[in-house]
């Protein structure tokens, strides 16, 4: 099978390009997505190819273009809305929570909201306390939404079309540190399943459960743990809402230990939810308490050494996993 060398960024761009070609109802809108090519260069070149009707720069108002995306979706279009980062999505929270997520219910089933919202998430780029949030766990709290976190090239390439085909509103969180990730994809790579978690590395001793930008760190930790004789399984959640309980529980039932790696703040986090589900459904399978590696509960520091200290790191994952397996944590 022929393959192409690509990056996470290019894979998303190719997915957008494919969607624009396949379906005339699809258009992309957001801040600086046109000539500028998006603040993370995801839509670079698309304006020349598809024109300003389909690659739309919007006025600087998240609430306006998310709300317009909802309206356009109900008006028969298939909009892809790009919010520059999750931090700015707070300005559209009412549109996302009170409107996109509820309109099917409030219309008695008359209106699905086939809207896809993409946004960058995560820290690690020294963008300080107001531009480094990982709030996907908040969105995963909301019934009516589907929340995706592509962590691989395959998912960057394949989740968008599946999201566009979904009749419900879908939020896609792209971790900023993943954009430059390079690798190969099959030349015919396309839509992927968006309902199931994936085992990215099989193992017997401990389940490392993670998603998005924390996947590379967790895989690194698993590799280093293997060198010391600990065989870690790595689960990539992929879908943060709904969660694929079956894959999580099957893994924990086999390894009897779980560490959840989640860049969100620890209290009330997605990691807390997964921990609760494991406790509810696999309590008697466990050989050790469920552990969490999350971000420090502080506004994200600007200084590099402080930011790195605040974020989940492979070293921390290794220390925590080792403690669970050897009982010396």
């Amino acid at each position: 099978m022929s393959t192409v060398t690509t990056t996470y960024r290019e894979a998303i761009r190719e997915a957008i390009r494919e969607a624009l070609r396949r379906d005339p109802r699809v258009f992309l809108m957001g801040e600086d997505v046109g000539a500028y090519g998006g603040c993370f260069a995801v839509s670079k070149g698309l304006l020349d190819e598809f024109g300003p009707e389909r690659i739309r720069d919007t006025p600087l108002s998240e609430s306006a273009f998310v709300g317009a995306g909802i309206g356009a979706a109900l008006g028969g279009m298939r909009p892809i809305v790009e919010i520059m980062t999750v931090n700015f999505s707070l300005l559209a929270l009412d549109q996302i929570l009170n409107n996109a997520a509820t309109l099917l219910h409030m219309s008695g089933g008359q209106f699905n909201v086939p809207l896809v919202i993409r946004m960058t998430t995560g820290g690690g780029r020294q963008l300080a306390a107001q531009h480094s949030h990982s709030l996907e766990g908040w969105y995963a709290h909301i019934p009516g939404l589907r929340v995706l976190a592509p962590a691989t090239l395959e998912d960057a390439r394949g989740m968008l079309w599946s999201a566009l085909e979904d009749p419900d509103p879908v939020l896609i969180f792209e971790h900023a540190l993943l954009y430059n990730q390079a690798g190969t994809l099959p030349a015919d790579a396309g839509a992927v399943d968006i309902r199931r978690a994936r085992v990215r590395r099989p193992g017997r001793d401990v389940s490392l459960i993670t998603y998005g930008g924390s996947l590379p760190k967790t895989l690194e930790a698993a590799g280093r743990l293997a060198a010391e004789g600990i065989d870690a399984e790595v689960i990539d959640l992929r879908s943060l809402r709904p969660l694929d309980d079956a894959t999580i529980l099957a893994s924990v039932a086999a390894t009897r230990r779980a560490v959840i790696v989640d860049e969100g703040w620890r209290s009330g986090s997605l990691a807390a939810e997964i921990s609760a589900r494991i406790m509810e459904n696999a309590f008697y399978e466990l050989d050790a308490p469920v552990a969490r590696v999350c971000s420090a509960e502080v506004p994200m520091p600007y200084a590099r050494h402080l930011e790195q200290a605040a974020l989940p790191q492979a070293d921390t994952v290794i220390r925590v996993a080792r403690g669970l397996v050897r009982g010396d944590g």
């Binding site: 258009f27 009707e53 919007t58 006025p59 108002s61 609430s63 306006a64 273009f65 998310v66 709300g67 317009a68 995306g69 909802i70 309206g71 356009a72 979706a73 109900l74 008006g75 028969g76 279009m77 909009p79 009412d94 549109q95 009170n98 409107n99 309109l103 099917l104 219910h105 409030m106 219309s107 008695g108 089933g109 008359q110 209106f111 699905n112 019934p143 009516g144 589907r146 979904d166 009749p167 419900d168 309902r195 709904p242 969660l243 694929d244 309980d245 079956a246």
Partner: protein
Amino acid sequence: MTVVARFEIHGVRYLDAAGHPCAELPPLGRDREHLVALYRAMVQARSFDAKAVVLQRTGRIGTYASALGQEAIGVCIADVLRAEDVLLPSYRETAAMLGRGVHMDELLLYWGGDERGMDFAGPREDFPICVPIATQLTHAAGVAAAFQYRGEARVALAVCGDGATSQGDFYAALNLAGAWRLPLVVVVNNNQWAISVPRSAQSGTETLAQKALAAGITGVQCDGNDVLALHETLAAAVARAREGGGATLVEALSYRLGDHTTADDASRYRDPDEVEARRQEEPVVRLRRYLHAQGWWDAGVEEALKADCAATVDAAVARYEATPPPAPTAMFDHLYARLPAALAAQRAAAAAGGGHG
């Protein structure tokens, strides 16, 4: 210093409170059949409204937002739109929704706490009632963008209240409509009260219509109790939008004769003398006086109309009350197009009689 831009806001009024012409009337003023139809629709809406309040008081529906005194706005909106246009209502658009073809029993279902009422038999593309304030205006901009994108000669029309003009979404939607020259009409039902906050405390602007100027769209004020003024203003705005001339903000001056909703008691914060004074300006009596003066209406026809409207409402109430309530599992029915497996247990718990342990 030089003047770099100059703006004006125009107001439209044809009939005074007594129903007497106060300007040269537009052709609609001579159209007996059309005016009688508009009058009938207003009386029908008021009749439904009064019954809905009674149903709430007797525990047969939940909270209801009366549109008493503001019927002309909705009736004229429905009259100037085409079937293929899209209405995005707030919660005080009973008259407009009825005019668009939504059934009374559907509205009663909704206000009775059953969202099946918002899955109307028609018009299928009109939006459900929007309870959040001003969020429907950005949706309307999106609907209008979809029409524009597909080259369709259709118009999106959204309605909000005076309080909504203080929201960010209000201005954000107008701004987008201006930047993209969208086929959009935003109607502000300025009924002078946002729950307990009077218009004077809502905004320092002289008019609400002038908020359009900052967005680069047309803004116009009209007497929302005067069917002739409303109809002309709205028809012009809709025609402009349909012909590619861009968006319009219409401020319709009205007065909320009732409470904000049945959950409110306006006598706690409103001077009864003010309400009585404004009652003299209300739109139904105003148009009736005009029709009387033309010799197009009399007490006999009025009585027959009232009886007819009451019968229509009573039949709708009977249909509403004969509708079985939804099963407890219904709350999961319209959460996703297909319920994710992870929520199946919660649905099963509801089916088994509640509890989510």
